[in-house]
């Protein structure tokens, strides 16, 4: 892992990503639900090949940040630069085309469809042909479908799931469903992959495997990955930069070592010492 380098904009990115435009550059992002500032003054920079972590106690607003990045919620304030481009006003499916893919905290697979079809839906914009070619089975249909089929199996082989291609997605065990969601997100050929609690419900050995796979994905596809996770072994093990969110505000940013020893973070998670003993 490279050292994190501070940027003038208060962010930090790995040394190797310094030369390039950061994949994500968020300035003063915020959203209000009624009078509640669910996320407020959120500033973050993520390097092009960084694995970044977003942690915080329950209800801190972590998933809300993901929803803001994918425009499931429209931000009230702030600017998001994706690869240097302002993405305000872009709808969710446009953002996917621009390179943001995500998984969901509560798995959202297309349960009645086959595993392969799930991945092919992720490939929707990768291999295109017109409705006319589809209706009359023109050559464009056959070539694109064949490529989609091959690519889908190739992507599934990342997690060694190609032999499950014909199974309905809903019939897979929990861990496999989480992995399939990641494959489906990868199918959209993202520049930034957002993982919402990828290790939730996994046992330690599965989590270990997942950590390896996340690194492998970053190395093969050379993309940035931002993940929300409560499993501190995973976060501290693979994240290069970590941001800690509490009550919608970033309370700490830094390397795993800095975060581990930050008194503000410990307080947010465990409460203040005096109160605890009282």
């Amino acid at each position: 892992m490279d050292n994190l380098v501070p940027l003038p904009s208060l962010g930090m990115i790995p040394e190797r990503d310094l030369g390039a435009i950061p994949i994500l550059d968020i300035h003063h992002l915020g959203i209000d639900f009624g009078g509640l500032h669910a996320v407020d003054d959120f500033n973050l920079v993520i390097g092009r090949t960084e694995i970044a972590g977003l942690i915080g106690p329950n209800g801190a607003g972590k998933t809300t940040v993901f929803n803001l990045l994918t425009n499931v919620y429209t931000p009230t304030r702030g600017v998001i630069l994706l690869d240097g481009m302002d993405i305000r006003g872009k709808s969710t499916h446009q953002l996917t085309k621009l390179g943001i893919a995500r998984t969901f905290q509560n798995i959202r697979l297309f349960k009645d469809l086959s595993v392969e079809d799930n991945v092919k839906i992720g490939l929707h914009n990768a291999f295109t042909y017109s409705l006319f070619s589809a209706l009359f089975r023109l050559p464009a249909y056959w070539t694109s479908e064949r490529k989609a089929h091959e690519t889908a199996l190739e992507l599934l082989s990342i997690f060694d799931m190609q032999n499950l291609a014909d199974q309905p997605a809903g019939s897979l065990p929990y861990g496999a469903q989480r992995r399939l969601e990641i494959v489906r997100a990868l199918a959209t050929s993202p520049k930034l992959l957002l993982l919402d609690e990828p290790a939730a419900g996994m046992n330690p050995s599965e989590t270990g495997e997942l950590m390896e796979n996340i690194r492998k994905i970053r190395n093969t596809f050379e993309i940035a990955i931002m993940l929300i996770e409560h499993d501190m072994n995973l976060v501290m093990g693979i994240c290069e930069g970590i941001a800690v969110l509490n009550y919608g505000k970033i309370i700490a940013k830094g390397t795993p070592e800095q975060i581990k020893s930050d008194p503000v973070v410990i307080e947010a998670y465990l409460g203040r010492g005096k109160e605890a003993s009282a």
Binding site: H93, F104, R108, F110, D112, H124, A134, L135, W142, E145
Partner: protein, 344 residues
């Protein structure tokens, strides 16, 4: 499909299917011409064909897209009137006017589908049902009153649009059934079809996969309306007379019942249910007083013992139906033993 699944090369599959279908079409026509099938049964068969098209078309928006529109008869009415007016007003020979009328009926209904779909598909569930129900009724009422309001003769309102050339035959009805089923199958087995299915499965995830949800919702809805319009055109040429009252709310419900009975998202189920629900009332004509009781009992029975419909959701929801048929029929005929092993 899996590797051990015995595959017939693609063009051959289509060929076999087309041949079977052609045999059915020409065989049926020959039987009718030869007098082996009575006039009454021919009529029932034509009605059956129209009902099949209506059911598979509603199945697009109900079964595949996962919405619940209740105005399907409205699109049928639009198609029926569009093609009937075209055929009666344009002095073309019926053999030329009819195919154009069919297409026109479909296109006009499809345009109505887009027009209604864009505002209506913003809503979900019960709300979509109510708004489409409203649109269906609006179409019926407009057809009923447009003449007296505008002061010219177009739909003839309650007096009925008469003397439409009776161009619908067994042959062209089932040719349309074949083409419609093929087109729906090819649409659903493509990236467009997968996009429509993904919306049914999980709208938020579909959006996150880069699918333009609104576009594909309207596309599915418009395709559904288009084919309903084609069915309407056939209906106009079948009856030779059109009255707005035949496209009321009950007609929409009747089609919906067929879709639900067959199993939502199952094309084979739709065809089967349309067949059963067209045949049963006809077979029960002899006991006309008890007809509706038996009909209702049948529906209740199916819903109690097989709530997911005759064919259920099983894997038909994946729109693999026709491919299964293609895979099965030749398998059974050419190598029944092998087919057994593969499927077992």
């Amino acid at each position: 499909m899996s590797q051990q699944y015995k595959k017939i090369p693609m063009p051959l599959r289509y060929l076999i299917n087309a041949l079977l279908f052609a045999a059915f079409l020409f065989g049926g026509t020959a039987l009718i011409k030869g007098g082996a099938v009575s006039n009454y049964y021919t009529k029932v068969l034509m009605l059956l064909g129209i009902n099949i098209i209506l059911t598979v078309s509603l199945n697009i928006s109900t079964g595949y897209l996962g919405q619940l529109p209740l105005g399907h008869a409205g699109f049928m009415a639009v198609g029926a009137y569009a093609s009937a007016i075209f055929m009666t007003r344009v002095g073309l020979d019926a053999s030329v006017a009819f195919p154009i009328g069919l297409l026109l009926g479909g296109v006009v209904a499809g345009l109505f589908g887009i027009m209604i779909g864009i505002p209506a598909l913003r809503l979900k569930g019960d709300y979509l049902a109510i708004i489409t129900l409203g649109f269906g009724e609006i179409i019926r009422v407009v057809l009923l009153n447009i003449d007296s309001v505008l002061g010219f003769k177009l739909t003839y309102g309650a007096a009925s649009l008469k003397s439409i050339p009776k161009t619908t035959t067994f042959f062209n009805t089932f040719l349309c059934v074949g083409i419609v089923c093929f087109l729906i199958h090819t649409m659903m087995k493509s990236r467009h079809g997968r996009a429509i299915l993904s919306i049914r499965e999980n709208e938020i995830a579909a959006d996150a996969c880069g699918i333009h949800v609104t576009y594909y919702k309207v596309l599915g809805f418009a395709a559904s309306a288009f084919f309903a319009g084609v069915a309407g055109s056939l209906y106009a040429g079948y009856l030779g007379i059109l009255n707005p009252s035949s496209f009321g709310f009950m007609k929409s419900i009747e089609i919906l019942v067929m879709v639900v009975l067959g199993g939502m998202g199952s094309m084979v189920g739709s065809v089967l249910a349309a067949t059963v629900l067209t045949a049963v009332p006809e077979m029960l004509r002899a006991f006309s007083e008890y007809r509706m009781i038996v009909y209702s009992l049948l529906l209740i029975m199916v819903m109690i013992f097989k709530p997911s419909g005759l064919m259920g959701m099983y894997d038909f929801s994946l729109s693999h139906i026709l491919e299964k048929i293609i895979n099965w029929k030749p398998g059974r005929k050419k190598s029944a033993g092998k087919a057994g092993e593969e499927n077992g």
